[in-house]
């Protein structure tokens, strides 16, 4: 059983991506018998090139991917460098998990309700400070340059980076920063040049995944992103759902280009890394002592604290809209409250939430079983994962969803596999497994295996030791990984829509369908429920070990 776990895992991760890509590449290069096109041609790519403003779409995707990664990484690094031993760090540590659990779309709506011209901020200061009795004609969200989208992405990626950095922090933080400090470096700067590079090495793959995600994001881009022209991923969706069916080969070509853009962004980042390391080393070797510790701290604090604060206010605004009656500009709060939306939608909400819960539960549960089996297999056989294996693990996160999901969908359809729970859970597993594995392997590697060896010496078998020592001692991170997998599954839109054949509407597909109508009360209601589901699971994941081990101090300090 343990031996086949890694093979299983790799099959789940590679198979769908490669097969999906194949079924996109074929029509992109002109072979689509159903539409009467046979053979090889580059026509679709020429047609794509002729589309108005397509270069701008491509540039947007590229630029957004790189900037999102750079800004959020910088802010999180500055924050941890400056606040890792402070009270604020503990505050952020407890606050960021709910933010992490919030689906991207919900966070984006919350942000929009906050910053748009008729949004909460301007209502707060109007008309007293601004004199506005009508919302100002300012281009804040959906701006053509994509700044609102960038902000939305950064806010959502900051908790993600906090998670991966916090997971690898205990493994590398040691005496390094203390050594550097003796020689007259500011403590924050010292941490940045001594400990952070080691952390960076460990979180490189998650950052690549972040870049890939940001270059091809769909839901957040629909809400906050520019529309004329939109980022490439949205352009692909539009082409895919064009009633003119000949546009489909162009959509396939665009999906290939999207893959290329993501790769290009990754290569750029990789080159940037090299340059950064080269000059960074020179600066460090020169013994330069940066005296801006306070500035670093300020930037990090405002960035990370602001991101988390804004998400919470956004969540509050979603809740407020869900119960608002008439709410005219510039009233700060609705003139009347009304629970009619909740009342009218209750049965529907229950139905689609339940379905999402079932899918998310199994997609995360199976991911946990597979990841645990593989990790235990690695331990028992003393195998260290090669770079390649790790890369494969991240493949579904590095290849843009829009580039392979349509192809995967065709395959499922072909074999009549779409439209049932098994396939849906499988499709979600592709995305939950890498994160669950990543998070678990950190705690796995940080575990003192002498506990296991001493238990073995007491005459207990490998399996016995696994179940009675390793599992309970790692229960907390395992449950956390489960909650993360659950949250990731809840947020999946494209896979649910495509593989579910539309017959399995979940809270997420409903939220997006309703959002297409722009009704804020519904958006508020559905986004709130969509946020609460993973939220509750995170809370339960924290509660179970707290209850089980309430009198076990050794397991209660995270």
């Amino acid at each position: 059983m343990l031996r086949i776990a890694p093979i299983f895992m790799i099959a789940i991760l590679i198979g769908p991506v490669l097969a999906g890509l194949f079924h996109i590449i074929v029509p992109a290069f002109g072979h689509d018998p159903e539409l009467g096109q046979i053979g090889f041609s580059l026509q679709a790519f020429y047609a794509l090139k002729m589309m108005p403003a397509i270069m701008k779409s491509i540039w947007l995707s590229y630029w957004l991917g790189l900037m999102t990664a750079f800004i959020s990484l910088m802010l999180v690094a500055f924050f941890i460098a400056s606040y890792r031993n402070s009270y604020w760090f503990l505050v952020i540590k407890t606050m960021f998990k709910p933010v992490l659990a919030m689906p991207h779309a919900a966070a984006a709506f919350g942000l929009a309700f906050l910053i748009m011209p008729s949004g909460f901020i301007i209502r707060l200061i109007s008309p007293e400070l601004t004199g506005f009795i009508r919302p100002p004609d300012w281009l804040i969200i959906n701006d053509p340059a994509g700044f609102a989208l960038l902000l939305g992405l950064v806010i959502k990626e900051i908790p993600f980076l906090l998670l991966v950095i916090l997971a690898s922090l205990p493994q590398v933080e040691g005496q390094y920063s203390r050594v550097a400090r003796i020689s007259g470096y500011g403590k924050n700067y010292a941490w940045l040049i001594s400990v952070f590079p080691l952390i960076y090495k460990k979180i490189r793959l998650p950052i690549y995944a972040l870049i890939a995600f940001a270059t091809s994001v769909v839901d957040v881009a629909l809400i906050l992103g520019p529309a004329t022209p939109p980022p490439l991923s949205i352009q692909i969706l539009r082409l895919m759902s064009d009633p003119d069916l000949t546009q489909r080969s162009i959509a396939a070509a665009a999906a290939i280009v999207q893959f290329g853009v993501t790769i290009l962004a990754l290569i750029t980042w990789w080159i940037g890394e090299k340059i950064f390391i080269h000059f960074g080393k020179k600066i460090i070797m020169s013994g330069f002592r940066f005296q801006g510790d306070k500035i670093l701290g300020f930037i990090g604090f405002v960035g990370v604290g602001g991101a988390i604060f804004m998400t919470f206010v956004g969540l509050f605004l979603l809740a407020l809209w869900s119960v608002s009656g008439i709410w005219k500009f510039p009233q700060v709060f609705p003139a009347e409250l009304s629970f009619s939306t909740w009342h009218n939608e209750a049965s529907q909400l229950l139905k689609v939430s339940w379905r999402a819960i079932i899918i998310a539960f199994f997609a995360s549960f199976i991911a946990i079983i597979l990841a645990l089996s593989s990790l235990e297999n690695e331990y028992q056989r003393q195998i260290k994962l090669s770079k390649w294996a790790k890369f494969i693990l991240f493949l579904p996160l590095l290849v843009p969803q829009v580039s392979f999901l349509f192809g995967l969908f065709i395959i499922f359809l072909w074999h009549g596999l779409d439209g049932n729970y098994f396939s849906l859970i499988f499709a979600h597993l592709i995305f939950t497994l890498p994160y669950v594995y990543l998070l678990l392997s950190d705690s796995w590697n940080g575990f003192d295996i002498r506990y296991l060896t001493s238990a073995r010496l007491m005459g207990k078998s490998q399996m016995n030791v696994f179940f009675s020592i390793r599992l309970p001692m790692l229960l907390r991170p395992i449950l956390m990984a489960f909650a993360l997998g659950f949250a990731i599954s809840i947020a999946q839109y494209l896979p649910t829509l495509l593989i579910g054949a539309g017959r399995f509407p979940t809270i997420t597909t409903e939220a997006v369908a309703l959002a297409s109508g722009g009704n804020r009360r519904l958006i508020g209601t559905y986004s709130l429920v969509q946020t609460l589901l993973p939220f509750v699971v995170f809370a339960i994941a924290a509660l179970i070990p707290a209850l089980l081990f309430h009198n076990r101090k050794g397991l209660n300090n995270e």
Partner: protein
């Protein structure tokens, strides 16, 4: 053939084929053999080799036998060894008596096992702490529980890997005395690995310096 004690018969430990440590010693029942040397000389690796947990890249030649049985190729759980590490490594999700009971050989009625666990705790003077959360114990108490737990699994030999090095100075002497007292009462072949001369002295036994 049916020699009692722990027999390290021409044991050679190599790392990637390069020789690291050779030893050829017999430890009789009740005898404590001390192995001294600086860190990195392979002391701890020897303990690992005896337990059957050699890390990748290391190899072990020769024969290890216990009470006449060749254990060189047995899985760890069948070697009947008791080990004390630098850290007490008490399982944090169990309380004190559960830690002991986990180590007891399986079988027997629950009341019987509980009785045994209390006996073992009494042996190290910790019977009043049976229901305590292990995280709330002091370093010395933890060390004694760790010893009781090691003895609970009915080992045929004891291996001590710098068992006192993490205790603070004042405590160390005290714990050392009580631990060796208990060990002497067991009449087991014991191998101590340390870099602390005081440890070695307290054993009143043979000392090998690497």
């Amino acid at each position: 053939m049916s020699e009692a004690g722990l027999n390290l018969n021409n044991v050679r430990i190599k790392i990637n084929g390069v020789s690291l440590l050779n030893i050829d010693e017999k430890i009789a029942d009740g005898e404590i053999l001390t192995l001294m040397g600086p860190s990195g000389c392979g002391k701890s690796t020897l303990i690992n080799a005896i337990c059957g947990f050699l890390p990748k890249g290391f190899s072990c030649e020769g024969e290890i036998s216990l009470d006449g049985q060749n254990i060189t190729d047995l899985p760890a759980e069948k070697r009947k060894l008791g080990v004390l590490f630098q850290d007490p490594l008490l399982f944090p999700h169990f309380d004190v008596k559960e830690n002991i009971m986990f180590a007891l050989p399986s079988g027997g009625a629950k009341s019987e096992r509980l009785e045994k666990a209390y006996q073992l705790l009494k042996n190290v003077n910790m019977q009043d702490y049976a229901r305590r959360d292990v995280a709330t114990l002091s370093g010395g108490q933890k060390a004694r529980i760790a010893l009781a737990r090691t003895l609970a699994s009915n080992p045929k030999a004891l291996l001590l890997d710098e068992p006192f090095s993490k205790l603070d100075e004042k405590l160390r002497e005290n714990v050392r005395q009580s631990v060796f007292e208990v060990i002497r009462g067991q009449n087991l072949p014991t191998l101590l690995v340390t870099h602390d001369k005081a440890d070695a002295k307290a054993t009143n036994g043979k000392i090998i310096t690497l």
